[in-house]
């Protein structure tokens, strides 16, 4: 990617200071977001999200597994992100690993709660089948196809949409299995249970450029940032996770301000995602 000249940098910073960004948006206006679900037919659930030129794909696969000994009544979820070299030449080979792990960890923190699994946005107990023996393992994979800033928000939205598109097959457990034996399970090919995503949060990232912060930064704006705070909020308005990136210091009062901005932006985002999903489903029913 070609670097920015000094003139361009001043233009971006100046625009943000005057509440008029390079693409005409105000500081707190996000770009329009487009969601498509069900593109990957081999996965249990999938979604493709486009925010401006940023495009990400999320896929959810469910496999049978054994619950961990510490939480026998809960299933397991693993989140992994991959940055495709198509998004930027520097992601070729192992170049994208650092960014991929940073995104994966941030998403895990926002969606999976603390170490004990408490406060997870995804209800892990709904994934248990037979306590202590069989549970569902969800593998959530994100792929960044094209990058123009705000990857974390796009991935968060894609994962939420993919989970709402996910159908977990109904499992019939053979009765009468004793103690240590693995019970026999019959996975239905026909019946699917829709995953409940009402508690899954979305992520809103606020990027500080100069003395002001903006919502939904493009990659040019991100190159000028001093720090970024990503806040994950659910429909009930609870904060599910918070990540601050960048070395610059932040006044504590500003953090509270950012959180309230994130709350209002996230509400609009959740409504947009829900209405797009409803429209997509209505379209499918018509077919």
């Amino acid at each position: 990617m070609v670097g920015l000249s000094i003139g361009e940098k001043y233009f971006i910073q100046g625009g943000i200071a005057q509440d008029l960004r390079t693409d005409g948006r105000k500081r707190l206006s996000p770009r329009p977001i487009f969601v498509e679900t069900g593109n990957i037919s081999q996965s249990n659930g999938s979604a493709r999200v486009r925010i401006g030129a940023t495009e990400v794909i999320a896929s959810v696969k469910a496999e049978l597994g054994r619950p961990s000994a510490l939480h026998p009544d809960k299933g397991k979820v693993s989140i992994n992100v991959d940055c495709s070299p198509t998004a930027a030449p520097m992601f070729e080979g192992r170049g994208g690993e650092e960014l991929s792990s940073e995104l994966s960890v941030a998403l895990q923190r926002c969606l999976l709660g603390g170490k004990s699994g408490s406060g997870a946005g995804i209800d892990l107990s709904s994934l248990a089948i037979v306590e202590g023996k069989i549970c569902w393992d969800l593998y959530i994979e994100g792929l960044v196809v094209s990058s123009d800033g705000n990857l974390l928000d796009a991935l968060g939205a894609a994962i939420k949409a993919a989970l709402s598109n996910t159908g977990i097959p109904r499992v019939n457990v053979a009765a009468g299995a004793s103690g240590d034996e693995q019970p026999e399970v019959d996975i239905s090919d026909e019946e699917f249970l829709q995953f409940d995503t009402s508690k899954v949060p979305v992520i809103v990232t606020l990027t500080k450029v100069g003395r002001h912060y903006i919502v939904d930064a493009t990659s040019e704006e991100e190159s000028q940032m001093s720090l970024a705070v990503s806040i994950s909020v659910n429909r009930q308005g609870n904060i599910c996770g918070l990540t601050k990136r960048g070395g610059a210091g932040l006044d504590p009062s500003v953090i509270l301000d950012m959180i309230s901005v994130a709350l209002s932006v996230s509400e609009r985002l959740i409504n947009t995602l829900d209405s797009q999903r409803a429209a997509a489903e209505a379209g499918k029913d018509e077919l």
Partner: protein
């Protein structure tokens, strides 16, 4: 031959899917979905690889973790990916007029989003569209299609299940106007007559893909003209 065995799966292509790339395309053959992005011609990153008379063409093929039926823990740079990257590079290098862009570098990145047989063909078709979208001068487009032989019948454009059934799989890449074969790969065994039939079928498939690709490129050019106001 107009029976079902000689039908291709539905193909769909879209140009310009990766806005930041110099050229990009998405190509679908049935359930196989591939995204290709081209960055270049640009300055060579590794001076020691610079060619004084030609452009350096590099290619990387990657598969998404969720692209196949079983979720695989993909290792970047595993043998199969390296081999396919090499094959795609050699095929595309053949058709690019590299002597027009000396001391530069052209990167072709191909990402498989969903794999259901014929991934190599889809990659080459996507790469062709992406190169055309980037405005890189080429001798001709390269199109690719696979054909196989199952139950004594030549079949065009195998999907994953047909490919795994144990019959032969011939992948062919041609430059349609010049009528030259640039890629030919086959596994399993076939008698010479059968091979000729299967290869002929693959060539017809390639020509059908070429017609579709030309249509897409023409449509795209009309759009560009329209937006320019001419």
């Amino acid at each position: 031959m107009s029976s079902k065995e000689t039908w291709m799966r539905q193909i769909r292509a879209e140009i310009g899917v990766v806005a930041k790339a110099d050229g990009s395309a998405m190509f679908e053959m049935g359930n196989t979905k591939v995204v290709a992005a081209v960055y270049g011609p640009r300055e060579v990153q590794n001076r020691s690889q610079q060619l004084n008379a030609n452009a350096l063409v590099r290619c990387e093929y990657t598969m998404a973790n969720f692209s196949t039926g079983d979720r695989m823990r993909k290792l970047k740079g595993d043998r199969r990916s390296t081999e396919i990257s090499l094959v795609i590079r050699q095929t595309m290098e053949e058709c690019i007029l590299t002597n027009l862009m000396p001391r530069s570098q052209i990167d072709i990145f191909v990402q498989v989003v969903q794999a259901d047989g014929g991934t190599l063909s889809a990659c080459i078709n996507a790469a062709t569209l992406a190169l055309a979208n980037a405005g890189i001068p080429m001798r001709d487009i390269v199109t690719s299609c696979s054909a196989g032989y199952l139950n004594s019948t030549p079949l065009l454009d195998l999907n994953y299940i047909e490919d795994s059934a144990g019959g032969a799989d011939v992948t062919l890449g041609i430059m349609p106007k010049l009528d030259k074969v640039t890629l030919l790969q086959m596994d399993a065994k076939l008698s010479l007559d059968t091979f000729e039939n299967v290869m002929q079928l693959a060539i017809e498939g390639c020509k059908a893909v070429a017609d579709y690709i030309r249509e897409i490129l023409l449509e795209n050019t009309k759009q560009l003209q329209y937006r320019r106001g001419t």
